[in-house]
Symmetry: C2
Subunit: 344 residues, 2 copies
DNA sequence: TTGTATGCGTTATCAT
DNA sequence: ATGATAACGCATACAA
């Protein structure tokens, strides 16, 4: 077992534990001689500082936590990768946690992080499934604990927390404009759960884009899913049975798109001929599909970087102006894919 | 800021901090009266125990770390999900780290975990790129520190660490048998980097399967990639230019398959007609491809569970019999996909 | 520059 | 069952 402490190192080096500490943390002044001896002893004994004790004393952990809502969604694993790289550059470790689209699991992770005194938290917040109006109790406690916190991708508007999110207005306007130009009139929307701010934003941007393009906003053409594949499959059936016979569909995330495309394939619907499809999130599966699916995609790398930067601001200042941190990113529409073709 | 300690709780409850501790950790015997008072006070003050201090004293963290080699590879994020769920059931938190297929980044994470005194480590080990024979120095230190350690997916044979891995022999035998029955003679293999044990295992199982099926083991039909998409693209070009004109290709992981399929699509090669393709790892992109790609897929859920179970054994016993923990899983071949058709 | 002594928040020991 | 106190490993104020 590893029981080698700074005392052992000090003893082996023939100095006091204070001097050993000074050498090993490298802050204060130390003589070249003791530096040499201590470093040799530490290496020799295989000394690994106990981060628990260190941060108990210094109240700094150089660690942030990132909570995403679904590890298995490539959208979020890309985001995780971006955050991690940026944090690494800033000398901080990242703990990645997975809420699994479940607010209970989110709270468990948040509690663990809070009790481990991470320096900051970057969170894709889960709304409460039953009640989207109020954040969970644990989330409230995080906030009132004063732990630096930043939301990314999704947000909880009630909480006034710095948020890195995206505005789909432009991209959806472009998409709908393109579809209209191709003759599509009845465009369906397979949306996400109302407790996710991104789902709400995409839905209202969809409605606004219809209106801006002079198309009727038909409430019945909106399907409420939950961002997971199974609900996309349900949505696909719903589209096929819909009395307005939509000729184009926009899908709010990649897992739902995968579920839907699988259903349509099995039903013999030819995407790009019988039905035009545009999906959020440019993941491999969308590009591998035949034909490739037109996408509205976010610059996850930049969003991840921005989240870390915003968190660093919060960690530095004590009272930041929240308004400064509501960053809006603009996703990019790639519509020149064969999944978008003239409609009836 | 959150500065409420167990002393504050004790004071508010009118008991000693020792009693408060006993109530809050729930181990020793306490009177109903003090239990009530302490719990009320704790809730009232919003007390969050400091895990640093707790585990400094108790040398237990109820936390394990999982190091995967690429967060963005769905294969590994599925594995991460499985490990996390199983650990949660056992009352342990999981820190997920990403080596990004880089042994330096692996070592950074391992150092951080070691210094945080996690109770155990589940690792998909990176070999050293230059020298696949020796584990990294940090890995050696982990081992000699006595921290409970289990390898999953990949292993480092030199280290004699309990390992959860897979044997592709059966699946590849089946795959090659099918290809031969369909008339394929020249079958190429796009493999992974030699420093990954899975790459070596898949390669030698491929050779063995050729031999078992009475096909010549043609060294020149093996392409050495690195498990990433770009090398799959290189491999795709290599296949097209190869003088033996292979009619079937087996690809060692999903990212490489995606890279290769993209190249072939752009080159106008019709997979399933001009070329038969079988890929390891059944990820969404393989199923979305037209035609769907035949796959050899692992039961990641079981492998993840097994890894946690094995780790628990190591944490319980002090000197386990390593042989007991070399679990072999057998991937399943799904060959009835249209990417596999008769060959020249 | 170095050593001594103290404290971080919690649990364990030893009395009572 | 409870309280006083030491101890976990480290960093730092203060003294030398």
């Amino acid at each position: 077992m590893n029981a080698v402490t700074i005392k052992d190192v000090a003893q082996a080096a023939g100095v006091s534990s204070a001097t050993a500490s000074r050498v090993l943390s490298g802050h204060s002044a130390t003589s070249a001689e003791s530096r040499e001896k201590v470093e040799a002893a530490a290496k020799n004994l295989g000394f690994v500082p106990n981060a628990q004790a260190r941060s108990l004393r210094s109240t700094k952990t150089d660690t942030i936590a990132l909570l995403i809502s679904d590890v298995r969604n490539p959208y979020f694993s890309d985001l995780a990768h971006a955050v991690e790289q940026q944090a690494l550059e800033a000398g901080m470790m990242t703990f990645i946690g997975n809420a699994n689209e479940d607010s209970e699991q989110q709270d468990k992770f948040l509690a663990a992080m809070l009790s481990r005194r991470v320096d900051g938290l970057i969170v894709v917040p889960q709304g409460l499934d039953e009640d989207s109006e109020h954040p969970s109790e644990m989330m409230q406690r995080i906030v009132s604990s004063g732990t630096p916190l930043v939301f990314v991708d999704r947000t909880l508007p009630q909480l006034n927390i710095p948020s890195i999110s995206a505005s789909s207005a432009t991209a959806l306007n472009e998409a709908i404009g393109e579809l209209k130009a191709l003759g599509h009139q009845n465009i369906a929307f397979l949306g996400g759960p109302a407790h996710a701010s991104t789902a709400r934003e995409r839905h209202s941007a969809f409605d606004a884009a219809l209106e801006a393009n002079g198309l009727t906003t038909e409430k019945s053409l909106h399907f409420a899913g939950d961002f997971r594949a199974a609900s996309g499959a349900d949505g696909a059936h719903w589209v096929l049975r819909h009395q307005l016979e939509p000729t184009a569909v926009i899908i709010a995330d990649a897992p739902m798109a995968i579920g839907a495309l699988t259903v349509w394939r099995e039903a013999g619907i030819r995407v790009g001929a019988d039905l035009s499809v545009i999906a959020f999130d440019e993941v491999d599966a969308m590009l591998m599909h035949h034909p490739p699916i037109a996408t509205i995609s976010h610059d996850l790398h930049s969003m991840g970087r921005a989240a870390v930067t915003a968190l660093q601001s919060v960690m530095a200042d004590k009272e930041p102006e929240p308004q400064e941190f509501i960053s809006q990113f603009t996703p990019r529409a790639s519509l020149a894919q064969a999944s978008v073709t003239p409609g009836a």
